[in-house]
Amino acid sequence: MRALVVIERLADGVDELSLQALAFGRGLAGGPDVHALAVGEGGADLAPLLGAHGVSEVHVAEHEAFVSYAPPAVARAVVDLVERLSPGLVLAAGSDRGNEVLARAAAMVELPFAANCVDATTGDPLRVTRQRWGGSLLEEAELAGAPALLTVAPHVVAAAPVDGAEATVDTFTPTLSPDELAVRVVEHVRAEAAGVSLSDANVVVSGGRGTGSAEGFAVLEELAELLRGAVGCSRAVTMAGWRPHTDQVGQTGTKIAPDIYIACGISGATQHMAGCKGAKKILAINVDPEASIMASADYAVIGDLREVVPAVSAEIRKARGT
């Protein structure tokens, strides 16, 4: 089957999640008929890299609209290719932009769209397993019509280079209506750099309602600093106004994948755990030995975080002789 994969570009290459979507699409296509769409100038430079990831032909959409992200224009480029190539599958990464572009394309061609798939089986109809509740629940579903449009949930398959030849390049100009040019990024506001970011941190020390107050986070900040980590929190905390939403871990917060997640005074609701299931290890510090989080944590300390956390910091200092 022919697959078309929409690629998200970075300044210096291809986003990792797009390479994962390529690996997923290649497996599903069951053959070498894998096409990629890269929008914007310089897309042709990706031909060696995409070829090495199993792409036979890369289609580069060129138009002045693509100097900044313009979601309806990208979706139109997808639809133009769908008409020209008649793929059986159209895939993208289950990222903000991947989901947005495929939902728009699906609306244009009046077909169903399955977001964040973890598995799929070809057939008529195509069958998918997809994430609900941020991955806390899975749904098996059938997708009517062709092509099947789907995104691939992040980190369910690894990017996998093959011994592919360089992809051939086809350059085209999509036909864009004025409406499709009207929604676009017109400005970028850069964030002021602030310490270790939550999404990239190796260690995250996180607090829940059990911290008791905004001031209750001082002991967590101290431990995070000693471990060169970031501070996170639960939604109970952001709703109370103790921490900004940018610190929230979970289904509607940030998704993290640290080496260790230290969850202090957090009960372990599914919506919270949806944000930290990528953590390699989880340590729960909780007064309640029956808290739900005990079922997903690797380690636990039963006790009051206000005593346990400072004791851990003191022990680290002692060991370091500082």
Binding site: A141, V185, T270, V308, I316
Partner: protein, 254 residues
């Protein structure tokens, strides 16, 4: 100014999801219900916009009869009026949901005037389809920006901010427009008791749209396998600190 917010009633699951025997739904026998935090921010923003600019705010849901609870919750937070599209119990897929909402918007606008802004969540809490708002925008031929963390009215349109790696991307779109929003857009307030009482008396209009054929057809739900172990208890109270640091060393972070 006229503003609409679309919300979806979902079960409030706790620490573990339990399914009904036929694996079609979450077993909600012991659960309360809520909406996505994203949609709560949509409600808060709509109420604030109408407070600042005057006009009318409306909340809409497609759901079972019980979804009236979520409509009243929204009105307790400052929304003026509610539209209930009765789904007759079952969940509808993204295409069918978008079509029902699009038709309801057309009917409502023919009667009371165009909505300058329609708010959706970036994704629903349960289905996570990432599509209903975009499909409605496409059907109505209106500009749409997704996943907003910031919004400001500027003249006869809105400035929209989206969080991206390294900062924020900005879009400007004219009214009438559709936006999908994320939690963090604002900090929703809690409803007052008088507001809750008032919401019980506010009007809810009901319609029963025809259910379309499902094209993303749910076969069954599956609870993913858990790590299948219980946490190793390192100790109780501050006395556990030494073991904790040993573990942090093993992991290579201390």
């Amino acid at each position: 100014m006229r503003v609409l917010v679309c919300v979806k009633r979902v079960p409030m699951t706790g620490g573990r999801i339990v399914l009904t025997e036929d694996a079609q739904e979450i077993d909600t026998a012991h659960l309360g219900f809520t909406i996505s935090p994203h949609e709560e921010c949509g409600i808060e923003e709509a109420a604030r916009l109408i407070e600042a600019h005057g006009g009318e705010s409306v909340v809409l849901t497609l759901g079972a009869a019980e979804a009236e609870e979520q409509l009243r919750d929204a009105m307790a937070l400052g929304i003026d009026r509610a539209l209930h599209l009765d789904s007759e119990g079952s969940e509808w897929d993204g295409q069918a949901t978008a079509e029902a909402i699009t038709n309801a918007i057309r009917a409502e606008e023919a009667a009371s005037g165009t909505f300058d802004l329609v708010f959706f969540g970036n994704e629903s809490a349960d289905a996570g389809g990432f599509q209903v708002g975009i499909r409605v925008a496409h059907a109505l031929g209106r500009p749409c920006v997704t996943g907003l963390k910031g919004i400001a009215v500027e003249g006869s349109g809105v400035r929209c901010e989206q969080e991206v790696p390294g900062g924020r991307d900005v879009y400007r779109i004219p009214f009438p427009a559709i936006v999908t929003v994320k939690e963090g857009l604002n900090l929703p307030h809690y409803p007052s008791v008088p507001a809750k009482l008032r919401a019980q008396r506010q009007p809810v209009d009901t319609a029963t749209p025809a259910r379309q054929e499902q094209r993303l057809r749910k076969l069954r739900l599956v609870v993913p396998e858990s790590r299948g172990k219980r946490a190793e208890v390192l100790g109780e109270g501050p006395a556990a600190a030494e073991r904790v640091v040993e573990v942090l060393r093993e992991i290579g972070v201390a």
